[in-house]
């Protein structure tokens, strides 16, 4: 439901209105949740969302202007970071009205955190090959199986769960998408330590976990198309995901609450900005190391900047197309792949600049070990959210329309397919 251009305010008026509203309503001693709920009600929390659900149907230019105004005013925005935004995008597209009204408010207020229960030990790239089972029993579904690499599962209260509901049909047709309550006896979460020392993802074990019937998102056995929406949003390298690990400061009780939220919830995600390679730090580091006039380093930095800028613009084009209601174009998958290239290039330049100190951690290392953290976090970007190889396949087959890889796993009942 894209708005008619005639109804859209011009940017200057919009900025003035936002600022006036903030001047009247922003109070750093208000409760964080109360404030976010207020902001969400105005539609300025997520202006690009539909009008009936906390939004204003704005294109990204105007939505960004609102966000920019809120940030420069020094006020706190709605909770937009993390997996919650993937849940929101999925619910907005496939959820029932009841599900939207039940979940969207808690997402924006920050009261609820979410996780994405897709990958399993036996199936990652081949997501549709998953074997966690959901069996219908009377007035609920019973879940058994194991998920892995589940970011945020250790604190999330809701999970987007993809599970198998029919084993006798081809793999993509027997999956159902559920919203599962994470805080229940049948769900056990164990954190997994990563190569960079953090533990932002987990193993999740389901033993007779319960999901009420009205928590099916989309159709029974129609979970695959719902999951594709989640994945498409994840691959757009949502700004919200990038914002993880960063902290907004200010004075007033509300900032203390925000800091507490950041401390408890965001600690395992401190490395998130680093997995993108931190190209923003390259020039200052080169200057600090007195290498900004070194011709070899300059070439490497220049190459990185060209790559970075072009991929930012490509991501912008993807966002714009989406907000104008146009179908997801090739820019989506390209953006994810481009981000991998940028991250790797940035890590190389950082190594070049830091030299022998690149791997020093803590106080011994450049930027208190941040450079080392970049080098150890970048490998995640080409795996999480669908590997680079899978992005290549998607681009070749779906965007370029190239002949599909001959497949033996799609036209048979799932139970007959070899698996790990």
């Amino acid at each position: 439901m894209a708005s008619n251009a005639a109804e859209l305010p011009d940017e200057q008026t919009l900025r003035t209105n936002v600022r006036m509203w903030l001047e009247r309503n922003w109070d750093p001693d208000r409760k964080l949740v109360e404030w976010r709920r207020m902001l969400a009600e105005t539609g300025w929390g997520c202006p690009e969302w539909p009008e009936e659900w906390f939004g204003l149907d704005y294109p990204s230019s105007l939505a960004n202007a609102v966000q920019d105004e809120i940030a420069s005013f020094g006020a706190i925005g709605v909770a937009r970071s993390g997996v919650r935004m993937l849940a929101a995008a999925t619910l907005l597209e496939h959820g029932s009205a009841a599900q939207k009204s039940q979940f969207l408010g808690g997402i924006l207020s920050g009261e609820d955190t979410w996780c994405q229960l897709f990958s399993e030990p036996g199936s990652g790239s081949d997501l549709a090959g998953l074997t966690t089972r959901a069996d219908k029993q009377g007035d609920h579904w019973r879940i058994n199986g194991q998920k892995v690499w589940t970011t945020s599962a250790h604190h999330a209260n809701y999970g987007m769960l993809l599970a198998r509901t029919d084993w006798d049909v081809p793999k993509h047709r027997g999956l159902t998408f559920f919203v599962v309550d994470m805080k229940q006896p049948g769900v056990e979460v164990r954190p997994l330590k990563q190569m960079n020392g953090y533990a932002s993802f987990n193993e999740v074990f389901f033993t007779d976990a319960i999901v009420p019937l009205d928590r099916v998102v989309g159709e029974r056995d129609g979970g695959w198309s719902v999951a594709l929406t989640t994945l498409a949003n994840e691959r757009r390298v949502a700004d919200g995901m990038r914002a993880w690990g960063s902290v907004q400061a200010g004075t007033g009780g509300i900032f203390e609450e925000l800091a507490a939220e950041t401390r408890t919830v965001n600690e395992p995600y401190k490395w998130y900005p680093q997995r993108a390679g931190r190209p923003d730090l390259v020039i200052s580091q080169a200057r600090a190391a007195d290498l900004d006039q070194d011709p070899v380093v300059r070439q490497a930095i220049a190459n990185l900047l060209i790559l970075e800028k072009s991929s930012q613009w490509t991501a912008r084009r993807a966002r714009e197309a989406h907000l104008l209601g146009r179908p997801q174009g090739p820019e989506g998958s390209l953006g994810k792949l481009a981000a991998s290239h940028v991250a790797r290039a940035a890590a190389e330049v950082h190594t070049m600049i830091a030299g022998g100190e690149a791997l020093l951690a803590g106080k011994d290392g450049p930027l208190d070990g941040l450079i080392a953290e970049i080098l150890l976090s970048v490998p995640a970007i080409s795996i999480a959210g669908g590997t680079d190889e899978i992005q290549h396949n998607i681009i070749a087959e779906r965007v370029l329309g190239m002949p599909k890889e001959p497949r033996t796993d799609v036209d048979r009942p799932f139970k007959d397919i070899p698996r790990n």
């Binding site: 790239s125 081949d126 190569m195 030299g355 150890l376 190889e389 497949r407």
Partner: protein
Amino acid sequence: MKFSFTEEQALFRDIVRRFVVEQSPREEVRKVMETNAGYDPALWQRLCESLGLHALHIPEKYGGQGFGAVELCIAMEELGRGLVCSPLFGSSVLAGTAILEAGMAQDRELWLPPLAASERRYALAVDEGGGCWDAKSLTMQYTQQGDTYSLSGKKTFVVDGCSADVIVVAAREPETKGLNGITFFMVEASAPGVNRRLLDTVDQTRKLAEIDFNNASAKLLGTPGEGGSALERTIDLCRVYLSNEMVGGAQRLLEDAVTYAGTRLQFGRTIGSFQAIKHKCADLLLHVELAKSAAYCAAEAAATGDPEFSALAALSKAMAADTYVKTAAQTIQIHGGIGFTWENDTHLYFKRAKSSETLFGQPAWHRERMLRGWQI
């Protein structure tokens, strides 16, 4: 041998490989890397007693085995393959080579036998922060009063510097520049004025130290002021030894990647049956083999005193580093999510690859040195 190994050398490789597999499995590596010392004394003793690796390149007259650079490179490659945590590299390879290159007969007689008898462990302190171990940029000056010498200043990236008994230090005569005036000293680690600190590095398998010298008393090694070319040659030799260690690690990673790709199923088939993965592995093999050829060729050049040695050392270091880092990153990629975990061993190699990439100077710097070595 430059393009093939002799039967004895091949046999020696097998022996070292078997020792590593049996004595230093990866659980052992993980255990030892968590300790401050960074090595297991019992394992080190076995490595010395049953293989004599600690004295491999030390001439027989000083109690060593009298082998050359090629044999030492074979040992390094095998230890690199197994990611073995031992004082071999810091003590015998780095410090031992410095003593061999810089010491006069009486110095060697004094310092090498305790090393060859594995009674004492040494470390080599050269770099002061640039990371290139470049002789010309040394700034630490020694002070002389009659026959006694003392050192003040800071050295860093000292491999196994905290666990060594004696530190071999390169410093310079006051008022000298470039290769002139460079002089080697031996400093007892326990001497007053020596302060050592373990650096916090993410490659836990190789311990590095920062050492502060504050008027520490030092014994001369070699002729005062004449150590410049010995230092350059020492570091070049160590670059070649490190290159061989790196290709050993890269080879092992490639094998891990191929094995995993052959067992992991997605879409009803092994991931190794996808050309994306197959081509990646084939490409890695290409690079690993190229890097091995470079490392072996440089080893031979070290053994024969090839006039191009320095350029070849630079070439092999750049090639091995790029290859090891690339292989490690791709091996993580081929493993998918599990490759990013602490539990999987790939990250241990990834970290060793990254720390080796910059130790003794990084690839771009070596590429430039290679060209200069060839007068280009």
